[in-house]
C-alpha cells in the first residue's frame, strides 16, 4: 500500500467543509480528526465527513502524534497562533487564505515554518481555479500580447455564516479576506504591484467596523494598470459575481462566473448560479499540497507570495484611510 498523509482539520466552518469534501476525494489522504471550538460542531462535522476523532482543544489537534499535517480553516485572526504552534509541532501546514491579518503575523508564520522545516501552503485557490489557470497560460503564451489594462470584480452579499467578518481586527475586512484572491492572482499573472489607490468603507448594517466595500486601482511595475472591486455590500438577491478582463497589446479576454454558469436553480426567491464540479480548485490545491509532502513536487504558491498579497490588501485599507496613493515599497503597512 502506498504512503498516506494523515491530517487534522482545524475548524469546522464554511471553508473547512469545502476542504473536507475535497480531501475525501483524494487518494493518499486520511482525515484523522477535526477540531472545533464547539465539540457539538466538531461531532456533527465528523459525522458528515466520516471522521473518527474530534477535538475541542486546537493545541491537542495540532500536536497529535497521529498526524503529520494540518489543514487550518479557522477565522483569519487565529491563523498566526495556530500555524506557529503547528509548525513547532513539526506538522506540514495547509493554511486557508489570507495567511494572516497583519504583516508581522505572516512573517512569524513563515519564519516558524522555515525554522521547523515544515511545508507551508497558503490556500490562494485562484491559482488552482480552471478558468484563472487557463487565462494565465494564455497570457504567458503571449496570446494577448503584453497585458495593459485589467479589470476584476468579486461581489457578494455579506457573509453571515460567522460573525468574525464583521470586525476589522478579526477578519481584516473585505480587502484582506476577498480582494486578496484577485490581488494574489494578478501578482502571479501580471506582475508585482507598485502603487495602490482605493476608496471604500463600512457599508452594510452587518458590519461592526469591517470595511465591506472596496474599489481599487493597482499600478503594476510593468506599467500595466488594473481596476478591482471587492464587496460584501451587495443586496441579498445579487448573485455572487466574479469577473476577469485583461486587455493586452495583441488582444482582449474576459471571463465571468455568471454567463459561464452550468447550473442554475430557482426555488421560491432563492437563486443558485454555479458551475459545480467535484475536482474544483479546493481539490486541486489540496492535491498539490499532498503531493508536495509526499513527492516534493513544486507547488504554485510560496509562502512569500501570500505575504506580498497581504501587503497589497493592507495597502488598499491604508489608501482608504489616508485618501492618498500608496507606494507599496515605501509605505508603512505594519
Amino acid at each position: 500500500m502506498s504512503k498516506r498523509v494523515s491530517l487534522n482539520i482545524i475548524g469546522a466552518g464554511f471553508i473547512a467543509n469545502e476542504l473536507a469534501r475535497a480531501l475525501m476525494m483524494l487518494d493518499h489522504v486520511e482525515i484523522y480528526g477535526v477540531y472545533s471550538r464547539s465539540i457539538e460542531k466538531a461531532r456533527e462535522f465528523a459525522r458528515r465527513h466520516n471522521i473518527n476523532n474530534i477535538y475541542d482543544d486546537w493545541r491537542r489537534a495540532v500536536s497529535d502524534p497521529h498526524v503529520e499535517a494540518v489543514v487550518i480553516a479557522t477565522p483569519n485572526y487565529t491563523h498566526k497562533e495556530i500555524s506557529v504552534e503547528a509548525a513547532r509541532r513539526g506538522k506540514h501546514i495547509f493554511l486557508e487564505k489570507p495567511i494572516a491579518t497583519r504583516l508581522r503575523d505572516a512573517r512569524e508564520i513563515i519564519e516558524e515554518a522555515e525554522r521547523n522545516r515544515v511545508k507551508l501552503f497558503v490556500g490562494h485557490c485562484l491559482r488552482y481555479w480552471p478558468e484563472y489557470v487557463r487565462v494565465r497560460e494564455m497570457i504567458l503564451r503571449g496570446e494577448i500580447g503584453e497585458p495593459r489594462v485589467v479589470r476584476v470584480y468579486r461581489l457578494s452579499s455579506f457573509p453571515k455564516w460567522s460573525i468574525w467578518h464583521r470586525y476589522m481586527s478579526f477578519g481584516g475586512g473585505v480587502a484582506v479576506d476577498l480582494a486578496i484572491h484577485d490581488i494574489d492572482y494578478l501578482r502571479w499573472s501580471i506582475g508585482e504591484v507598485s502603487k495602490v489607490y482605493a476608496v471604500g468603507g463600512v457599508y452594510t448594517k452587518y458590519s461592526v467596523d469591517a470595511i465591506d466595500h472596496v474599489m481599487y486601482i493597482l499600478e503594476f511595475e510593468n506599467e500595466a494598470i488594473g481596476y478591482g472591486e471587492a464587496s460584501w455590500a451587495m443586496p441579498e438577491s445579487f448573485p455572487f459575481t466574479t469577473y476577469l478582463e485583461i486587455a493586452g497589446t495583441k488582444g482582449l479576454l474576459y471571463v465571468d462566473n455568471r454567463s459561464t454558469a452550468t447550473y442554475n436553480e430557482y426555488i421560491d426567491n432563492k437563486i443558485i448560479t454555479s458551475s459545480p464540479y467535484d475536482k474544483n480548485a479546493y481539490y486541486n490545491e489540496l492535491k498539490a499540497f499532498i503531493r508536495w509532502i509526499l513527492y516534493d513536487e513544486p507547488v504554485e504558491i510560496r509562502p512569500e507570495d501570500a505575504l506580498e498579497s497581504l501587503r497589497i490588501a493592507l495597502a488598499i485599507n491604508k489608501s482608504i484611510e489616508k485618501k492618498e496613493v500608496i507606494d507599496v515599497k515605501k509605505a508603512d503597512l505594519e
Binding site: 503584453e146 495593459r148 489594462v149 479589470r151 470584480y153 461581489l155 502603487k195 489607490y197 482605493a198 476608496v199 471604500g200 468603507g201 457599508y203 466595500h213 474599489m215 486601482i217 499600478e219 503594476f220 510593468n222 506599467e223 500595466a224 494598470i225 488594473g226 481596476y227 472591486e229 464587496s231 455590500a233 451587495m234 443586496p235 445579487f238 486587455a247 493586452g248 497589446t249 495583441k250 488582444g251 482582449l252 485618501k323 492618498e324 496613493v325
Partner: protein
C-alpha cells in the same frame, strides 16, 4: 419645422445624426438645411449622401444664413468653440458633440455666450436619451441613497484625429470619461468633488495620446465612483464597446448594460454583434427639436457639458500631480 445644419462630419457620430435628421425630415419634424465642412472631399461626399438644401465651406456664410435655425456641431473636439461662437452670435441654437470643448475657458465662454444671446445650447450626451438609461433615472430612487457607482465606457481606438492631441485635446480620458461622468451626475443629482486617474503604458504603440485610463472619484457627499474609459477593445472585437454601470444603493443595486442588445453573427466579415437596441441618437435630436419648438431647457445643457469636462480636466491634472485633484482646483 426646425431647419438644421450639420457642422463637419469629422466625428463619426455625425453620420448617425444626419441619418436621424433625414428620418425626422420624412416625418415632417425637421429639414437638413445645410452642411458645412472644412474638408472639401468630405463635404462633397456627405452632401451626396444626405442631400442638404445648401452646402458651405465658409463658416461666416453659414452664420449669415437666416434659413438655418439650429446647428449640430460634430467637428474635432478642439474646433467646437470656433464653430459654436459665430452660430450663437447669429442667434442659432446649438447641439454640440461631446466633449463640449477641451479647455475649461472655451467651454465656459460657449455656455455664457449662449446664455447671453438666449439660444438653446445642448450637449450631445446621448446616453440621457437611451431608453435603458432613462429607465435607470426613473428607478434609481427605489434603491435608496446611492453609495457606490462602478462604470465603464470601453471602446475601440477610433484612431484618425482622435489620436492627434492638436485636434482631440487628449486620448481615452478626453473621449470616454464624459458620457459616464454625465450619467453619474444625472442619476445622483450630485457633483463630483475630486478625481484621480491612472494611465498605464499604451495598448497601441507610438500614439501621441493615452489609449487607456482608470478613474476613481468622490461625489460631493463622498460617494465613491469609478470609471474605466479605456479604448481597450481590439479592432476585431465583435461589438464597439460598452456603457456599463453597477450602482449600489442602501436598499439595492441596479446594473445597466446599455449596449447589450446585439444579435451575434458569424459571416465572411468575422464574428460580430449587430445592435438592435434603442435609437438614442434619434431620440436626442428629436428632443433638441422639441426644446427649440417648445422653448424648453435641454435635458443635457451646456453647463452639463462643462461639468463633465471639469471631471476630465481634473483627471488629467491628477496624472501630473500624482494625487486626487479637487474639481475646484481646475476652475482657476
Amino acid at each position: 419645422m426646425i431647419r438644421l445644419a450639420i457642422i463637419s462630419f469629422a466625428h463619426m457620430h455625425a453620420y448617425s445624426y444626419a441619418r436621424a435628421v433625414k428620418e425626422l425630415e420624412r416625418e415632417g419634424r425637421a429639414v437638413l438645411e445645410a452642411i458645412y465642412d472644412d474638408d472639401h472631399d468630405r463635404l462633397r461626399k456627405t452632401s451626396e449622401i444626405y442631400r442638404p438644401r445648401k452646402i458651405y465651406n465658409d463658416l461666416e456664410k453659414l452664420a449669415d444664413d437666416k434659413d438655418v435655425d439650429a446647428v449640430i456641431i460634430t467637428s474635432e473636439n478642439t474646433k467646437h468653440k470656433k464653430h459654436a461662437i459665430p452660430m450663437i452670435m447669429s442667434g442659432k441654437h446649438v447641439l454640440v458633440e461631446k466633449p463640449i470643448a477641451t479647455r475649461y475657458v472655451d467651454a465656459l465662454e460657449m455656455v455664457e455666450e449662449a446664455k447671453r444671446v438666449g439660444v438653446k445650447f445642448q450637449t450631445a450626451f446621448v446616453m440621457r436619451y437611451h431608453d435603458a438609461s432613462v429607465f435607470v433615472k426613473r428607478r434609481i430612487k427605489e434603491i435608496g441613497r446611492v453609495i457606490s457607482i462602478t462604470s465603464t465606457n470601453h471602446g475601440k481606438n477610433p484612431m484618425s484625429w482622435f489620436v492627434d492631441p492638436e485636434l482631440s485635446g487628449g486620448g481615452a480620458l478626453m473621449d470616454h470619461i464624459v458620457h459616464v461622468a454625465d450619467l453619474i451626475r444625472w442619476y445622483t443629482e450630485k457633483e463630483f468633488k475630486e478625481v484621480i486617474a491612472f494611465v498605464g503604458k499604451n495598448i497601441i504603440k507610438d500614439l501621441m495620446v493615452e489609449d487607456n485610463g482608470l478613474v476613481i472619484g468622490r461625489l460631493e457627499d463622498d460617494t465613491p465612483v469609478s470609471i474605466d474609459c479605456s479604448w481597450s477593445r481590439p479592432s476585431k472585437w465583435p461589438v464597439w464597446g460598452d456603457v456599463y454601470m453597477h450602482i449600489l444603493g442602501e436598499r439595492g443595486a441596479i446594473v445597466l448594460n446599455a449596449f447589450n442588445q446585439n444579435i451575434y453573427l458569424s459571416d465572411e466579415e468575422g464574428f460580430r454583434g449587430v445592435y438592435y437596441g434603442p435609437d438614442a441618437d434619434k431620440n436626442m435630436i428629436e428632443s433638441f427639436i422639441n426644446v427649440i419648438e417648445r422653448d424648453e431647457e435641454p435635458l443635457a445643457s451646456g453647463l452639463d457639458g462643462l461639468r463633465a469636462l471639469e471631471v476630465v480636466l481634473a483627471a488629467y491634472r491628477s496624472l501630473e500631480l500624482k494625487r486626487p485633484v479637487k474639481i475646484s482646483e481646475i476652475r482657476m
